[in-house]
């Protein structure tokens, strides 16, 4: 078989050459044809090619580094060449892509990630070594004989069971290993490797949520509550100082959903916590689905690939409820740029490298698949240095009742999309184990690169197959691979799979690896036999691979064979219901941390420092890289104002081109407050998500929310105590605001253990994502100031509780403030949101912005810079009990908005807000500066130009 080396040079980028290795029964004229028609842009590039089989090679003039993906890692470029060659009828067997750079010096940035890429240095004399390197890259993998191993666990003692769990990366505890042992003692045989892996994946934290479904024994300090609203905190009262909770998800989340969903306005709950995504009826014909997922550990090891496949995964969640993805969201938690990594043992990636890789990974997948990324957040804290968080969300759209969930005995099991390789093995268990300084070596195969085009083709096919009603059930192939997807679909019926039918990327996978692989871009359908040929033809026409791999057989068992030999033979009931419930100890101590020392600075400097703070500064460098216009639904975009550079509060999407109803997407999080009390943090996060959607005109009484918990090791009682309080907060917030949770996800074990055994947990982090009904998108509003002479009103009360406020990171605890966590007044907050919503829908509001990080001062600054208009703000009129100008300027009290109202609408606005705390505090001015005054003296004068400059600090 001939092997050719093609070198493509772009003269404008002389320091990076692209190399292709192409093998096959090829003639030189075949290669010339590929080079001319496919591999080279005749205007911008030049190419040369060499026949390696004849020992012909280019001559190096200087030492170079050549970077290639490791065998088995997705190489999309090479895959493209294979497809292109097929379209040109050129018989290509294998293709590999390499990049060539001048040899790296100490000052050049790192160009490859050793986990997924090889980097080889060659000097001009290394010709023969290079040929061997190239030949190896395109050589077929060495065949391995397939092997089904029995794992002798029946004879093991407790120590042996734990060792088996650790060594096999099973992430099972002793109780669970004993249960498995007991099962196999009953059936009088040892498990196969495939069975043990199947159970480990199914029982993993990722797939079975054993912490959230566990029994929690909680003790903690008492929480004083204001008398007027104590009854609005039932879950907190239930916790008291000690309580036992049977399942946080049932007690705090599902219970809240059951209580609130029936009263939801306009949206009707169709599915919560059951399907791959939460589903709501939007109107008589349409349902919307929403899911947010995390991909934290993979992103810590390979930021691009981790985030890339994170976005790919959550898009498939929505596809898994038969919906077309119409919008995406992303929220990142990173360590501060240029953070010192010396305490982490040298294996943690530099924080900027993580941030760049994550953003690029999300951008690549979202843009290529054609889904607008319309809402998100970025939060920086040293707690995320070793364990960044990457949340990706997707909203889907489907006709009502088009998502079938009726697998029947006799349905064919069809795998569609990408091929199966050795990638992503142990993803579900990997996410359930803390990161350590050696994780990269042990779990490297859990890291992958996505292939958005294969997934886009999958979306195109699923929508057609759905509309033709060709399948009876569908699910995404995610964590746990085929084992989880088929195991869950066949839970009530039983399934039989022959693994030799599964299409593979390359030969040599062991049967258990095929069964467990988490290779991306795959979905599984249950297809009634009479529809099979039509589905397969539909797929063939669009070059989507689809293969029947087995049958849902009515046996009640999960049986998997390889060449007829048994790989898995398990009772479905044991697999899905056999896991012993976990008992977790949870403790909580009220925060007693000291307030940071007051270090005075002048207000103008504080405002500038806040605006350029990484948690507040413009996200434009990230947002501009995302296509937020595609599909044409973006009515309120992530950037707003006269120059489209002000921060939008939430996204508004028009659902149908000819109706004026829509949805708003917002999010809230406050991990900086986790250390003070996760209960109030949860309330504040829900409040923020709702503030955001209300600010753009959506209806807070027609809103559903999602929870995403990222927490440390639940076996540490303090982490578990915080988590319990956070879920209690979710419950009480949902009840008070009337917003049901429709989907959620937990990512636990977000801890890092260094070589010395020192543990670092992330700050307990809760992301609340809100999807709210928008009654009329033409009455949406943005935060940019619109016209000089308009009045500025504050809505809501300002409190002196300022623990965790961003201003304290700049000047410490400010005078007149209390070092307490801000609390949401549940007796007031829901009606505040509702009244403001009605004022906006009546068209009484010219601009609206919620007060969040940095408080009033930052809200004024952001509105002014977005509108390129000035404002006079008189702090005297602000509704507050605090005399402190610092509290008035920078408090981050919840449930507050700054609202611009034209003189013509002032009377109607104040009437509409009569039952809600509000006050006129200023006026919009033409003069390009913001002036804050208090008690007749000027507190600060800042020019719009200086605000723009400060806000546009580059966070990447």
């Amino acid at each position: 078989m001939a092997v050719f080396l093609v070198i493509v040079t772009t003269p404008t980028h002389p320091d990076e050459k692209t190399l292709y290795l192409i093998s096959g029964s090829l003639t030189p004229s075949d290669i010339q044809r590929l080079v001319d028609t496919l591999l080279t842009d005749p205007i911008t590039q030049q190419s040369t090619w060499y026949d390696l089989g004849r020992g012909v090679l280019d001559t190096l003039t200087q030492p170079v580094d050549e970077v290639a993906y490791r065998p088995g890692v997705t190489d999309n470029e090479a895959e493209s060449i294979a497809v292109g060659a097929r379209h040109l009828s050129v018989p290509v067997a294998a293709v590999r892509t390499l990049r060539r750079y001048p040899q790296r010096t100490t000052t050049t940035p790192v160009r490859h990630n050793d986990l997924i890429e090889l980097c080889q240095t060659f000097t001009p004399g290394d010709a023969s070594a290079r040929i061997v390197f190239y030949q190896n890259l395109v050589a077929a993998p060495t065949p391995r004989t397939s092997h089904i191993a029995a794992v002798p666990i029946r004879v093991l003692d407790d120590a042996g069971l734990l060792l088996a769990s650790t060594q096999g990366l099973l992430a099972l505890d002793l109780d669970e290993m004993r249960t498995i042992q007991a099962y196999f003692r009953t059936v009088e045989r040892d498990p196969t490797d495939g069975e043990l892996e199947t159970i480990a994946q199914t029982w993993s934290e990722h797939c079975s949520h054993k912490t959230f479904k566990g029994r929690v024994v909680y003790t903690g300090d008492a929480t004083p509550l204001p008398a007027h609203s104590a009854h609005l905190h039932p879950a907190l009262q239930e916790l008291g100082t000690s309580a036992t909770i049977d399942s946080l998800i049932k007690t705090h989340l599902m219970r809240a959903t059951n209580a609130t969903a029936p009263n939801l306005k306009n949206l009707t709950l169709i599915s919560a916590f059951v399907d791959n995504a939460g589903i709501l009826a939007f109107d008589a014909d349409t349902e919307v689905s929403f899911k947010v997922e995390t991909h934290n550990h993979p992103s810590a090891l390979e930021p691009f690939g981790g985030a890339n496949t994170g976005m790919g995964g959550v898009l498939r969640d929505v596809l898994g409820v038969s919906a077309k993805p119409i919008a995406a969201t992303d929220v990142f938690c990173f360590g501060p740029a240029h953070a010192d990594l010396s305490a982490y043992g040298g294996t943690v990636l530099p924080t900027l490298q993580v941030a760049h890789g994550v953003v690029a990974g999300v951008q690549d997948y979202g843009n290529k698949i054609g889904v607008p990324i319309v809402n998100g957040a970025v939060f920086y804290d040293p707690g995320y240095i070793a364990n960044p968080l990457v949340f990706c969300g997707t909203v889907g759209l489907a006709p009502r009742n088009s998502h079938p969930r009726n697998v029947s005995a006799g349905d064919t099991i069809v795998v569609l999309g990408g091929r199966t390789g050795r990638d992503g093995i142990h993803g579900a268990t990997f996410s359930s184990i803390e990161l350590t300084h050696t994780t990269a070596q042990e779990a490297g195969s859990a890291v992958q690169i996505g292939d958005p085009i294969t997934e886009k083709k999958l979306i195109d096919i699923v929508i057609q197959a759905r509309d033709a009603r060709l399948y009876s059930a569908i699910t995404d192939c995610g964590a746990g691979g085929l084992s989880s997807a088929i195991g869950e679909m066949g839970e009530q019926i039983g399934a039989n799979v022959e693994l030799t039918t599964v299409p593979l990327k390359y030969a040599g996978l062991q049967p258990w690896e095929i069964w467990l692989s988490e290779a991306q871009e795959r979905i599984v359908m249950a297809v009634p036999p009479q529809h099979l040929s039509r589905l397969l033809a539909m797929c063939a026409a669009e070059e989507v691979e689809a293969t029947a791999v087995g049958t849902f057989d009515g046996s009640g068992r999960l049986t998997v064979t390889y060449e007829g030999r048994s790989v898995v033979d398990l009772d479905m009931h044991f697999l899905h219901d056999g896991r012993p419930q976990r008992t977790l100890t949870a403790t909580w101590q009220a925060d007693t941390s000291a307030a940071p020392q007051w270090q005075p600075r002048d207000h103008a400097a504080v405002i500038a420092a806040l605006l350029s703070h990484p948690n507040i500064a413009s996200r434009e460098p990230i947002i501009r890289g995302y296509d937020h216009e595609i599909q044409g639904r973006s009515i309120i975009k992530p950037l707003v104002g006269a120059y489209s550079d002000g921060p939008g509060d939430a996204a508004v999407l028009q659902i149908h081109p000819h109706t004026m109803t829509g949805i708003a997407l917002g999010c809230g999080m406050a991990p900086q407050l986790s250390q003070f009390d996760p209960y109030w943090m949860a309330l504040l996060s829900v409040d923020e998500a709702l503030r955001n959607v209300v600010a753009v005109g959506a209806d807070p009484t027609a809103c559903a929310i999602l929870d995403n918990f990222c927490w440390g090791d639940p076996k540490q009682a303090d982490r578990m105590g915080g988590l319990t309080r956070a879920t209690a907060g979710c419950h009480d917030a949902a009840l008070a605001y009337g917003t049901p949770f429709i989907s959620g996800k937990d990512s636990l074990n977000n801890e890092y253990r260094n070589a010395q055994g020192v543990r670092t947990a992330i700050p307990g982090t809760l992301l609340i994502s809100a999807l709210a009904y928008h009654p009329d998108i033409r009455h949406s509003q943005t935060s940019d100031l619109k016209a000089a002479g308009n009045a500025l009103y504050i809505v809501g009360t300002t409190d002196s509780a300022m623990a965790g406020a961003h201003v304290s990171r700049i000047v410490g605890a400010v005078p007149g403030s209390d070092w307490r966590i801000p609390q949401v007044d549940l007796a007031q907050a829901p009606s505040t949101l509702e009244h403001l919503h009605h004022a906006i829908q009546k068209g009484l509001v010219a601009a609206c912005h919620d007060l969040s990080e940095g408080g009033l001062a930052v809200a004024v600054a952001e509105m002014a810079l977005a509108g390129r208009l000035g404002a006079d703000i008189e702090l005297d009129a602000l509704p507050t009990r605090s005399d402190s100008v610092w509290v008035r300027m920078y408090s981050e009290s919840p449930t507050r908005f700054l609202v611009e109202v034209s003189p013509a609408h002032e009377a109607a606005f104040t009437a509409a807000m009569a039952h809600v705390t509000h006050a006129r505090i200023g006026t919009v001015r033409t003069e390009p500066r913001v002036i804050f005054t208090h008690q007749q003296s000027t507190i600060a004068i800042v020019s719009i130009d200086s605000l723009v400059d400060a806000f546009h600090t580059d966070i990447l």
């Binding site: 496919l38 911008t44 497809v83 698949i369 296509d627 216009e629």
Partner: protein, 258 residues
């Protein structure tokens, strides 16, 4: 009669639906067709008056944006496309579609398989999504006739810088009325400066057409600027319709007369 417009889709094409919405609003009748169905003969280009190659990342754009779909156009659909163009019908390529038309040789020369230009990486080196202002000027394009005011539409691309082998070729193109749209700055002048020009194209080139004016390619997305509420500043300033709709209205009204 409502003119029929074929919108071709392929792996990774993702603005086909947006283009169809635009065609419908402009009074045309769009069919979105997978390229495989034209190649296998079950759909014929000749049943349509206009061909749109929409935006996306066809086949992933790993070998240069639009390159793989251009291979399809030249080597798998060559005869159909040639006939369609020689028959005097209209072709519009948007974003990835523009890249496909250029890389298949249909632009600027209407010479399938013979290339004289390319669209390459933005000068910034980054993919960018932002709204831009375009001026039509004096051009042969049937899609830009009567556009005498600047229009505002979004761009979303990483490889939008139009290049030819020499500046002389670029100038000849401009002199021949083949530059259909240019990016303009706040003074209304064509610009090469970021961000008004998102990719650094010489002379602010945003769209070009062939000599007949019937084949046009453009990087910006008029199909995402159809209604007043898609505009980024609609809460500040009002408009009757999206600025991009006129491009499709022009195209549809022109094909009504062939």
């Amino acid at each position: 009669m409502i003119p029929r417009v074929i919108i071709v889709r392929a792996a990774g094409i993702n603005r086909d639906g947006d283009a169809a919405r635009a065609v419908t609003m402009a009074g045309g009748s769009p069919d979105i067709v997978h390229i495989g169905r034209i190649i296998d003969g079950s759909v014929s280009l000749q049943d349509y008056a206009m061909l749109i190659v929409p935006g996306g990342f066809s086949y992933g754009d790993h070998l240069g944006a639009g390159a793989m779909l251009a291979v399809d156009m030249v080597h798998r659909l060559g005869d159909e496309v040639r006939r369609f163009v020689e028959d005097g019908r209209a072709v519009l390529g948007i974003c990835n579609g523009f890249q496909v038309l250029v890389k298949s040789g249909l632009l600027p020369g209407a010479t399938l398989a013979q290339r004289s230009a390319s669209l390459t990486h933005n000068a910034s080196g980054r993919f960018e999504c932002r709204w831009v202002r375009l001026a039509a000027g004096a051009t042969r394009s049937v899609f830009t006739q009567g556009i005498d005011q600047p229009i505002e539409v979004p761009v979303a691309h990483g490889e939008g810088r139009f290049v030819m082998q020499s500046d002389a070729q670029l100038e000849a193109l401009a002199a021949n009325g083949q530059v259909a749209f240019r990016y303009i700055d706040s003074d209304g002048q064509p610009t090469e400066a970021h961000p008004a020009n998102p990719n650094g194209s010489r002379h602010g080139i945003a769209a070009i057409c062939d000599e007949s004016g019937r084949i046009m390619g453009m990087m910006p997305h008029p199909e995402n600027a159809l209604t007043p509420w898609q505009h980024p500043r609609w809460t500040r300033e009002s408009r009757q319709q999206g600025d991009g709709l006129v491009v499709f209205q022009n195209g549809i009204s022109w094909i009504k007369h062939i």
